[in-house]
């Protein structure tokens, strides 16, 4: 199990190193094969670890393996260790499984790109970083993986570095993630101060009487999670991150990196449970984001952005679950979401590829007959997204909503209603996309630009989408509370849930959830499919994404640039530059002055010698 864990971690790193060091000596496709192979090896190793763990008893499935003592400073010590337990094995399987499929897809999508090798190196680096994050045996390795994942995201969003918009989006993502990193760092500092260690066990060792510290630690961790998972209030970077290539959006900004926040909460649930208000805050933030993102997705015209906002919304569900204490539900939804979101993104990639790079859905239409395979995959993903049985989303989303009800209290009921509203919105925006793009007659643009000469796309793209679509369809059957719950049973030793919905609660929620989902699809059909009703004009509020970008611009960006400009005018130029100029001028002055001593006359020099001799004689005598 441990060996599997180490191989999983190090294989993508080896892949990235090989591609980087080999440089232009290997072909572009070879780089792609190396990346794919390294992640597939990692997946195989993860499966081996999983199988071995299955063979052990539930208590013996958690193992910490330390390679060497990495940091030893005074009484503090950290090892370079990996923790293989039920939670990390689940994440490893998802990351390497979906990751290797998406990297294989990239072989076809990124073919012909000039800088293909760089892309595959970055992708392998990303997979390694994500694995470090989930396998890290203590908080400091988690933080290391956290930071590296942010770096890989920055590198890959800005992959098309000639585009100014891509570079700006990369910077935006990195800066907002840095805010989260800062709050996490504060939490870790507090942990070191009050417990002297950064192992996962330390999370429970902060004295409960110290309310401030307990709350701050949880808040700091939540800050990091919110930034990484693009929840309110740090959500504005995710739609812009769509500037990266589509496989990047699928892997990083749907299936794995953005779910790291959820993983963090589940892994550190002890800290959150000690600070219940912060945990409630997580649930509230998740729910608000869920609804907000759903509303914004209704008016987006770029297909990738619609899917991005849906990601934001679904992660809201995961945050809701984690905030309430239904950890297993949250992780299960993470898994099914990875499948159907990746399906959606990669199918969208097929579309974009076939239309020569076009992403505006207003220009598309009637692609059902022209690209049937893509249509089927997209449909499977959207049905899963909307939570329609028997697709996977149904099995994972409704238990989350039910646990909100089970939590009880006014908060639980409000969250329940909001989550159900979100389910309705999901149906609407998901099928708005499907009907606009695929139904009807092929639009003029499509007739001109569609080229499906060699089938709908290269083979590498099609088989991976196929696999993911199948997973999106059937993976849900893995867990169906309250009837069979292997996932919850698997995760229970590591993250025992705080709530347990009763059967009536579950079934009620199930029925209402599916009904709302179908209602949403119906509304979308009426507005976009059958053209029987006019499309309402979207209000400015939704189109401007609730003015968050403008708010942050005014609140943070402008003051920051103002401060920077003032510092330059009042500090940098006069003091820093000025002082250097002063020093130079001063030196020149002194030099000119001393130059006056150089009269060139022999007699002056001799006089100087004689005079100083006279003086020195006195000095020597006096001093003696």
């Amino acid at each position: 199990m441990i060996i599997g864990g180490w191989i999983t971690l190090l294989s993508p790193l080896a892949g990235a190193l090989v591609i980087t060091l080999a440089g232009t000596r290997i072909g572009r496709r070879t780089a792609g094969y190396i990346a794919t192979a390294s992640t597939m090896i990692a997946f195989v190793a993860a499966v081996v670890a999983f199988v071995v763990a299955l063979g052990k008893s539930p208590d013996a499935r958690s193992q910490l393996s330390t390679a060497y003592t990495w940091i030893a400073a005074g009484s503090y010590q950290s090892g370079f260790s990996i923790l293989i337990d039920q939670l990390s094995i689940l994440m490893m399987l998802i990351v390497t499984g979906v990751g290797s499929l998406i990297i294989a897809y990239s072989l076809g999508y990124m073919e012909g790109e000039d800088e293909e090798r760089r892309y595959f190196a970055y992708m392998a680096l990303f997979v390694f970083s994500m694995l470090l994050l989930v396998e890290g045996g203590n908080l400091i390795l988690l933080l290391a993986g956290w930071g590296m994942v942010g770096l890989s995201s920055y590198l890959l969003i800005g992959f098309y570095h000639q585009r100014a918009s891509a570079v700006a989006a990369a910077k935006k993502a990195f800066v907002m993630n840095a805010v989260g990193d800062a709050t996490m760092a504060v939490a870790l500092f507090l942990l070191i101060k009050y417990t002297g260690s950064l192992s996962y066990a330390a999370l429970g060792q902060v004295p409960a009487s110290n309310r401030w510290v307990v709350n701050l630690v949880a808040l700091g961790l939540l800050g990091g999670a919110v930034a990484k998972s693009a929840q309110l209030p740090l959500q504005t970077w995710l739609p812009d991150a769509m500037e990266g290539p589509t496989p990047v959006s699928a892997l990083i900004h749907a299936a794995t990196m953005v779910t790291a926040g959820v993983y963090l909460i589940v892994r550190c649930h002890v800290a959150f449970q000690a600070a219940p208000h912060v945990q409630d805050l997580a649930a509230v933030l998740g729910t608000v984001t869920l609804v907000l993102a759903g509303l914004i997705a209704l008016v987006q015209v770029d297909i990738k952005r619609v899917i991005a906002y849906s990601t934001m919304s679904q992660i809201g569900y995961m945050f809701l679950a984690a905030g309430i204490g239904a950890y297993a539900d949250s992780m299960f939804h993470l898994m099914t979401h990875a499948f159907f979101k990746a399906t959606l993104f990669l199918a969208a990639g097929l579309l974009i590829h076939a239309l020569g790079g076009e992403q505006d859905l207003r220009k598309m239409g009637g692609l059902r007959k022209l690209m049937p395979f893509t249509f089927l995959a997209f449909l499977a993903g959207s049905l899963a997204l909307a939570g329609i049985p028997p697709f996977s989303g149904f099995f994972s989303k409704d238990p989350i909503i039910a646990s909100a009800l089970a939590r009880g209290g006014a908060l639980g009921d409000v969250l329940w209603v909001a989550a159900l509203a979100g389910a309705f919105l999901t149906g609407v925006y998901a099928f708005r996309l499907v009907f606009r793009v695929f139904l009807g007659e092929p639009s003029a643009f499509v007739r001109e630009h569609l080229h499906t000469g060699h089938g709908e796309g290269p083979l590498s793209m099609r088989w991976t989408v196929g696999v993911l679509a199948v997973l999106a369809t059937v993976a849900g059957f893995l867990q169906f509370p309250p009837f069979w719950t292997p996932v919850s049973n698997w995760l229970e030793p590591v993250a025992p849930p705080l709530v347990d919905p009763t059967n009536p609660q579950e079934l009620t929620t199930l029925v209402i959830g599916v009904a709302l989902g179908l209602a949403g699809i119906a509304v979308a059909w009426l507005l976009y499919g059958s053209h029987r009703y006019a499309v309402p004009r979207p209000r400015a509020l939704l189109e401007r994404k609730f003015y968050f970008d403008e708010l942050y611009d005014a609140a943070f960006y402008r003051p920051a640039t103002w401060v920077a400009a003032s510092l330059r005018r009042f500090v940098e130029e006069p003091v820093v530059d000025g002082s250097i100029a002063e020093v130079a001028a001063g030196t020149r002055g002194v030099a000119r002055w001393t130059g006056l001593l150089q009269t060139g006359l022999l007699r002056t020099y001799v006089l100087a010698i004689a005079a100083s001799l006279a003086v020195l004689l006195v000095v020597f005598v006096a001093v003696r």
Binding site: R603, V606, L607
Partner: protein, 108 residues
């Protein structure tokens, strides 16, 4: 005319005073005169003053080191005069004015 008894005539202090005077006079010459030849001659005067002091002390202590030193100084003075005069002759050949005040191209 030394002899085996302590020095007859003035004691060593008088010689030293004379040596100091010679030195000071030579220094005045170096500082005040403009012809390089005279400057060299004054330099010789200074060296001779130093020599006198050396010999006086040598007599006072009863050791020969001072006299040896004085002979070395004489040898060095001779070498210095050779080089100095060579310079002056070279300057004269180049038709330069022999005035140390006029030779100031190394001014800063």
């Amino acid at each position: 005319m030394g002899g085996v008894e302590p020095v007859s005539g003035p004691n060593v202090a008088w010689y030293l005073a004379l040596a100091a005077f010679l030195f000071a006079t030579g220094m005045l010459g170096v500082l005040l005169r403009r012809s390089p030849l005279i400057v060299l001659l004054s330099l010789e005067l200074m060296l001779n003053g130093a020599n006198l002091a050396l010999i006086a002390f040598s007599r006072q202590h009863g050791r020969l080191d001072g006299q040896v030193f004085a002979l070395a100084v004489m040898a060095v003075a001779a070498s210095e005069v050779v080089v100095g005069l060579g310079l002056i002759v070279a300057m004269a050949r180049k038709k330069l004015t022999l005035d140390v005040d006029k030779l100031s191209t190394l001014r800063g």
